[in-house]
C-alpha cells in the first residue's frame, strides 16, 4: 500500500496508543472529513456534527485500520456512513437553499452562490449510491477504482452509479439553470 511514509508512521503510532500521533492525525484530516460531510449533506452545522462523530469514532476505529486500503478511502467510507446514519434519524434535512451563501465560501457573487447551491441540492437529491459515486469522483477527484474501494463495490458498479446519477441530473438541469429564486 503506497501511502505517505509519515502518514503510515503516524497511524501506526496512534494505533500503539501514542496520543500525540492520534491528535496529529485528526488535525490533518478534520478538513477533509468536514468537506466530504458538507458535500454530502449541504449544511454546515450538520456537517460539523458528522465530522465530530467521525473524529470520535476514529479514536476507537483507528486500531482496526489494517492498511488494506488508502487511509483517505477508509475515512471517506466512515464519513459517508456516518452521514447516512444521521440522515436516517428521521430528521428533516435543512434546505440547502437556506444556506446558499455559505456554499461558495461567501466570496462568490450571489449568482454563483445560487448556482452552486442549486447544484448541491440537485446532487443531494440523488439516491445514496449515485450521490456517493458522483461526489467521490467529480467533487473529490477520486478515480473509479479508488471510489470502488470506498464504496466496497466493483469499479464497473461505480461507473454505473455515475452514469445513472448523470441521467437524473440531466433531468433536473432545468430547475438548476434558471432555478426559481426563493422568495425571502
Amino acid at each position: 500500500m503506497e501511502q505517505d511514509d509519515t502518514l503510515t508512521t503516524l497511524i501506526t503510532q496512534a494505533q500503539r496508543g501514542d496520543r500525540n500521533a492520534f491528535a496529529r492525525l485528526v488535525e490533518l484530516h478534520y478538513d477533509l472529513i468536514f468537506r466530504i460531510a458538507y458535500k454530502w449533506c449541504g449544511h454546515r452545522d450538520d456537517a460539523q456534527d458528522i465530522a465530530q462523530d467521525v473524529c470520535i469514532k476514529l479514536a476507537r476505529a483507528i486500531a482496526g485500520y489494517a492498511f488494506q486500503s488508502a487511509f483517505k478511502s477508509w475515512l471517506y467510507r466512515m464519513v459517508i456512513n456516518t452521514a447516512k446514519d444521521m440522515k436516517r434519524k428521521d430528521k428533516p434535512m435543512d434546505d440547502i437553499m437556506d444556506h446558499e451563501h455559505e456554499i461558495a465560501g461567501g466570496e462568490a457573487s450571489p449568482d454563483e452562490a445560487h448556482y452552486a447551491a442549486q447544484v448541491l441540492r440537485a446532487v443531494s437529491a440523488l439516491p445514496d449510491n449515485e450521490k456517493t459515486a458522483i461526489l467521490l469522483v467529480a467533487a473529490e477527484g477520486l478515480s473509479h477504482k479508488e471510489a470502488a474501494t470506498v464504496m466496497d463495490c466493483k469499479e464497473s458498479t461505480v461507473s454505473w452509479y455515475i452514469h445513472e446519477g448523470r441521467k437524473k441530473l440531466d433531468a433536473m438541469k432545468d430547475s438548476i439553470k434558471e432555478g426559481g429564486r426563493r422568495h425571502g
Partner: protein
C-alpha cells in the same frame, strides 16, 4: 456500462446538449468550495476524539489486566448482578464487567476526570475562545468557570450532565441508565474536587464510551459495517446545536446611493430571552442569536397611545445624539398599539412537543406550567384544546371550554415526554382541532411549544411554511414558543411564527412564561394590525449616511412596501415596537467617505425639490392592515431634528439596549463604547422598573462584561 478505468466520465450517446448540462454540473462540483468549519466545532471535535482515545487506551489496559484476573477468578462470570444492563446492543461477550470497571476507575480516575471536566467546559463555554491551543491548557478556562457564581457552576454541572447523558430522545436508554444507578454528580461538590463524585463522573463517561462498540482487533470493513446505532457520547448533541439563521449585520448606507429603507415590524422577543439564558450560564451568545430589535422590543416603552381608536397606533419619533459616535444621531421610531377593551373570544390549541428530548426541567414541565399560567388569563367562554406530537401522539384534549378548567388541567398533567420524534400528524391535527371549533369572531390560534424538533408531521420545510401560511389565510394563526437549549431551531421558529401571524418567544423561566403568556397575553393573542411595514426615505440634503440597527431578518425590498401581497409582522394589542436608525447628518464626518463623482448629478431637480424641506431628516411611512381587512392603510409623518415625542428616559434606555446588542455582535459600529458605558446609560434611564426587567438587564450586562473579559474578547 463502461469498464475503462480512466477518470473521465463515460460519454453519453444521446442528447448531447443534456450531456453538456450534466457535465457542467459535475465540473462545478469539482470547484465547489465548502464553507470553513467553525473553529469551536473543530476544537470540540478534537477534544471529544481525544477523550475517546484515552478511554480506548484505558480499556485496552484493562482488558489485559482482566485476562490475568479471569484466569484465577473465572467464577465471577455469569453472576447476575454483574451482568450488563440488557439493551446495550452490540456488546461483545468479553467486555469488562461494569462493577469491576468501576473499581478500576479509582486508579485511572484522575486523568479521566480531567478529560471529562475539561471537555465539558469546552462544550458549555461554547463561545469563549481558548487562551491557547493545547487541549490540556483548558485548565485555565475551567478555573475561570469555577470562579463564577454558583448558578454557573450548577449550569456547568448541567452541561456536564448533558455531556455524559446518552443521545437525545432515546428514552429507553435514559431509563436504563437511571436503573443502572448512574446518578449524576451532586450539585454541592465542585467539579475539580471530591473523590466520590469524580469517580462517578468518570464512570458514567466510560460506561457511555464503551457503548456498543467493537473490539479493536476487528477488520476495517467489518468494523464499519458494525457501526452501531448508539453512538458515542451522544449527550453533546444537545449542547451547542442551536440553529440560528446566519445574518450579516446591517451596513452603513449612503443616502445618495440608497435613500429608502424598508422593513417589517418585529414584535418577537425570543432573542432577548435566549441570550439572557446564555449569559446567565456564563457564556456569550453566538452573534447570529443576537437580534437587536428583539432585545430593544423586550421592554415596554412609554410611547403615546393613539388618539382615537380608528387608527390602531400612531408613531412617535425622536432624534437624539448617538452615544457611541460624536456627530451622529439616533432616530428613534416608536409605535404603541392600543389596548383592546373587550377581548374577543379565544379558540386556542396547544400543540406540544412531547418527544424524549423534552424531558429536561426547563422543557416539558415548564411548558405545562406556562400553559397553566395562560389558562388563568382566559375567560370561561374561551376554549382550549391540546394536541401533542412525537411519541404519545394525537389529541389529548378536544376543544374544551375554560369553564371546565379541571378537565383541562387533568389533560395537561397527564402529558409526559417520551419516545422518538416519530413524526405524528401533530400539526395537521392541531389545525383540525382549531377548525372544528372555528369562530370567525374569535381569535383562533395554535400555540406550538417545542425545544427545536419540528417533526410535526410535515417534514419538508417549505411545505410546512406554506401549510401554515394557507391556514393563516383561513383565519387560524400560529405562535411559537421555544424552550430549552441546545436544540433550538430559532430560524424555523421565526419563519413559522411569521407565516402564521404569531409571535415567536423563547421561554427559559417561569417568570418569562408569565411575561409572555400573562402580562402580554393579550398582545400575544390579539392582533390589532397586521402586515405592518415601515419605510423611511432619507433626505440627501440633510443626511449623508444611515444604518438601521437590527431588523436584518425583517428587511423588505423597496417595492414590497406598497405591495399588499407581501406579508409582514403583526402588532398585538398593547405591543410597543421600536426601531432605531443611526444617521450621519450632512457636514459630519462620514464612514463611507466622499465620493469622487457626484452621483446626485442626474437627480438635480428632484434633490432640489426635496432639499427644500431642509429641516427634515427623513420621511416616515407606515403601512398596516386592520385585522380583518386586506387593503393596507398608510400613516405618514416627517422626521425632523427637533422632534421629541419620546422622553429622554425612554430613548436612553432603548439606546443602552441597542448599544449592548451591538457589543454582543462585535461592536463593529460602536467605536469605543464599552459595557460600562451601557451600564451607565442604563442606570440613568432605568426609571420605575415595575417588574424588575430593566434591573435584570443591567445585571446581564455585568455578567456579559465578565464573560467577555474571561474569554479575552
Amino acid at each position: 456500462m463502461d469498464n475503462d478505468t480512466d477518470d473521465t466520465l463515460p460519454p453519453r450517446n444521446d442528447r448531447p446538449d443534456a450531456a453538456a448540462a450534466a457535465e457542467d454540473i459535475l465540473k462545478s462540483l469539482a470547484h465547489l468550495r465548502t464553507p470553513a468549519p467553525d473553529d469551536n466545532a473543530r476544537k470540540i471535535a478534537m477534544n471529544l476524539a481525544m477523550a475517546e482515545f484515552d478511554d480506548v487506551q484505558k480499556d485496552i489496559k484493562k482488558q489485559s489486566l482482566e485476562k490475568n484476573i479471569q484466569k484465577n477468578k473465572s467464577f465471577f462470570q455469569g453472576l447476575p448482578f454483574f451482568s450488563r444492563p440488557k439493551d446495550m446492543s452490540g456488546q461483545q461477550a468479553d467486555k469488562p464487567k461494569r462493577r469491576e470497571k468501576m473499581n478500576k476507575k479509582w486508579i485511572y480516575g484522575g486523568l479521566a476526570t480531567a478529560m471529562v471536566t475539561v471537555f465539558a467546559v469546552a462544550t458549555t463555554m461554547d463561545q469563549a475562545p481558548w487562551a491557547n491551543k493545547s487541549y490540556v491548557g483548558l485548565g485555565g478556562g475551567l478555573a475561570g468557570m469555577v470562579r463564577q457564581e454558583p448558578s454557573s457552576t450548577q449550569s456547568f454541572k448541567n452541561g456536564l450532565a448533558k455531556m455524559i447523558a446518552p443521545q437525545e430522545a432515546k428514552k429507553e436508554y435514559i431509563q436504563e441508565l437511571q436503573s443502572a444507578d448512574m446518578a449524576m454528580p451532586a450539585p454541592s461538590s465542585a467539579p475539580v474536587s471530591g473523590g466520590a463524585a469524580r469517580t462517578r463522573e468518570a464512570d458514567s463517561m466510560s460506561l457511555n464510551s464503551t457503548e456498543g462498540l467493537y473490539a479493536p482487533s476487528a477488520k476495517p470493513q467489518m468494523m464499519i459495517a458494525q457501526m452501531p446505532d448508539i453512538h458515542v457520547p451522544q449527550g453533546y448533541k444537545d449542547v451547542g446545536r442551536d440553529k440560528f439563521e446566519d445574518v450579516e449585520e446591517n451596513a452603513i448606507k449612503s443616502v445618495t446611493a440608497e435613500p429608502v429603507s424598508t422593513f417589517s415590524v418585529d414584535v418577537d422577543t425570543a432573542s432577548y430571552a435566549f441570550i439572557r439564558k446564555q449569559i446567565m450560564n456564563g457564556v456569550l451568545p453566538q452573534k447570529d442569536a443576537v437580534r437587536i430589535e428583539e432585545m430593544v422590543n423586550y421592554f415596554d416603552y412609554d410611547y403615546a397611545l393613539p388618539k382615537d381608536k380608528d387608527a390602531p397606533f400612531q408613531p412617535s419619533v425622536t432624534v437624539t445624539p448617538s452615544p457611541w459616535k460624536d456627530g451622529n444621531k439616533l432616530v428613534h421610531i416608536g409605535i404603541k398599539g392600543y389596548d383592546i377593551e373587550t377581548k374577543p373570544r379565544s379558540n386556542l390549541v396547544f400543540l406540544l412537543d412531547t418527544s424524549g428530548s423534552m424531558d429536561a426541567a426547563d422543557k416539558l414541565p415548564l411548558v405545562k406550567n406556562s400553559m397553566k399560567l395562560l389558562l388563568d388569563t382566559l375567560d370561561e367562554d374561551d376554549t382550549v384544546a391540546i394536541a401533542v406530537y412525537a411519541g404519545s401522539a394525537g389529541t389529548v384534549l378536544e376543544p374544551t371550554k375554560v369553564k371546565d378548567k379541571a378537565k383541562i388541567l387533568d389533560a395537561m398533567n397527564s402529558l409526559s415526554a417520551g419516545g422518538g420524534t416519530a413524526g405524528a400528524q401533530g400539526i395537521q391535527l392541531a389545525y383540525e382541532l382549531a377548525e372544528s371549533n372555528f369562530d370567525k369572531d374569535a381569535v383562533n390560534r395554535i400555540i406550538l411549544a417545542t425545544d427545536g424538533d419540528f417533526n410535526v408531521g410535515i417534514t419538508n420545510r417549505e411545505e410546512l411554511k406554506d401549510f401554515v401560511e394557507r391556514k393563516r389565510e383561513k383565519g387560524v394563526f400560529l405562535s411559537v414558543l421555544g424552550f430549552g437549549q441546545g436544540n433550538l431551531n430559532d430560524h424555523m421558529m421565526q419563519t413559522l411564527a411569521q407565516n402564521g401571524n404569531g409571535v415567536a418567544a423563547y421561554i427559559d423561566t417561569l417568570n418569562e412564561a408569565r411575561k409572555v403568556l400573562v402580562e402580554e397575553a393579550t398582545s400575544a393573542l390579539f392582533p390589532i394590525a397586521k402586515d405592518v411595514k415601515i419605510q423611511v426615505e432619507f433626505n440627501p440634503a440633510t443626511v449623508a449616511e444611515y444604518r438601521l440597527i437590527g431588523y436584518e431578518t425583517r428587511a423588505l425590498k423597496r417595492e414590497d412596501f406598497n405591495n399588499d401581497k407581501v406579508d409582514a409582522g403583526d402588532i398585538g394589542s398593547g405591543h410597543t415596537v421600536t426601531a432605531i436608525y443611526e444617521v450621519t447628518p450632512k457636514g459630519e464626518e462620514t464612514a463611507l467617505g466622499e465620493t469622487r463623482y457626484d452621483h446626485a448629478q442626474g437627480k438635480d431637480e428632484a434633490t432640489k425639490a426635496q432639499a427644500g424641506k431642509s429641516d427634515e431628516y427623513a420621511f416616515l411611512k407606515i403601512r398596516y392592515k386592520l385585522p380583518d381587512e386586506d387593503t393596507s392603510r398608510l400613516i405618514e409623518t416627517p422626521i425632523t431634528d427637533d422632534r421629541a415625542d419620546i422622553s429622554d428616559q425612554e430613548t436612553e434606555w432603548a439606546s443602552a439596549v441597542a448599544g449592548f446588542g451591538q457589543l454582543l455582535k462585535g461592536g463593529k459600529y460602536t467605536g469605543q463604547f464599552t459595557y460600562d458605558d451601557v451600564i451607565t446609560l442604563a442606570q440613568k434611564s432605568k426609571g420605575e422598573d415595575q417588574f424588575g426587567y430593566r434591573s435584570e438587564f443591567i445585571q446581564i450586562v455585568r455578567l456579559a462584561k465578565s464573560a467577555s473579559e474571561m474569554g479575552g474578547q
